[in-house]
């Protein structure tokens, strides 16, 4: 397999997470103080880089079969989480992720919080908000970079895809100076769920000892099949709701992210 599918998959997955981190950073920076916000962001990025630097080379030392079994299982479980949420959102059972309203919530909380300084950090709230936002969203990026990169024995290509996504989103955010609400984030999450699940199935089964018909070319069939099944479930779940009157919200609708 060439590095291009790896880079593209990591790029899209990381762009989604970067957009969510950007929303939090903008809320902290524009409402509170930019210096403390950048400090929080910088510390989080250093922690994330340290995790990649420590785990990336270590994980590639594992035997490929064992690595594919474990990573494939994790990716399939992780990808199914994304896919499940994406289908529930697409069918109206869960509210769509909206960066504009997420931004307004963060701004309201940031305005209400009291100001306090600690050490070299002038605004502790802005620092922690930015640090937590970048670290938590970044952990998903790190997970994807390490699992995809290690499996393909090409962590460098995965890092390139992730870094490109972060740069594109950051530059766009600086130019727009607003949350990227117009980006089709929910559709992107659907695509990422399909890719993570497909690669998880492929590598997991290989790790269990399976020999795929057509070797790596099986992915060219597996990805469309996962996409078709997911779209089929979306259509099936949409139909009954279209004829029903508005019903009480499910517990899924209350949860976010």
């Amino acid at each position: 397999m060439t590095a291009l599918p790896l880079i593209l998959t990591v790029f899209v997955a990381c762009a989604v997470e970067a957009i969510e981190a950007l929303t939090i950073v903008l809320a902290a920076g524009l409402t509170r103080e930019w210096r403390s916000t950048f400090q929080g962001m910088a510390v989080a990025l250093v922690v994330l880089a340290a995790i990649v630097a420590a785990l990336g080379p270590t994980i590639t030392l594992l035997p490929l079969t064992a690595l594919r079994l474990v990573v494939g299982a994790l990716l399939a479980i992780f990808g199914l989480q994304w896919l499940r949420k994406a289908i529930l959102r697409a069918t109206g059972y869960k509210s769509l992720h909206d960066e504009a309203s997420a931004y307004l919530r963060e701004v309201a909380a940031a305005k209400a919080a009291a100001a306090s300084s600690r050490g070299r950090v002038h605004d502790w709230y802005a620092f922690t908000l930015s640090f937590k936002g970048v670290l938590l969203e970044g952990l998903e990026v790190v997970f994807i970079v390490i699992t995809f990169g290690a499996n393909q024995r090409n962590v460098g290509a995965a890092v390139i895809g992730a870094a490109a996504a972060v740069v594109v989103v950051a530059v766009t955010g600086v130019l727009v100076r607003a949350p990227l609400a117009k980006v089709p984030e929910n559709a992107m999450k659907f695509v990422v769920g399909i890719m993570l699940t497909s690669f998880g199935i492929f590598w997991g089964a290989e790790g269990a000892g399976v020999s795929w018909p057509g070797q790596d070319a099986a992915l060219l069939v597996l990805v469309p099949v996962v996409a078709l099944v997911s779209l089929g479930y979306t259509v099936l779940l949409r139909r009954p709701r279209a004829v029903q009157p508005a019903s009480a919200p499910t517990s899924e609708e209350v949860t976010s992210s």
Binding site: A73, E140, L237
Partner: protein, 66 residues
């Protein structure tokens, strides 16, 4: 102890998420695939995709019914 518990809860939520049954099905399907390949000599490449699609359907059905 409380910190360890919260770290564990974070990673559980991070990887497993809202429906642990999906994770159980994936792990069981991989174990069964390994048994079929190594013990019975069956190249069961089809088993994991079938189980994954079934797990997703089951999870969606539960989520949309509750």
């Amino acid at each position: 102890m409380r910190r360890l518990r919260s770290i564990g809860a974070f990673w559980y939520d991070f990887v497993v998420g809202d429906d642990w049954r999906v994770a159980v099905v994936v792990v069981a399907a991989l174990a069964l695939t390994a048994v079929l390949v190594h013990a019975a000599g069956v190249n069961a490449w089809w088993l994991l995709p079938v189980c994954v699609f079934a797990a997703l359907a089951w999870s969606l059905r539960r989520a949309t019914r509750t």
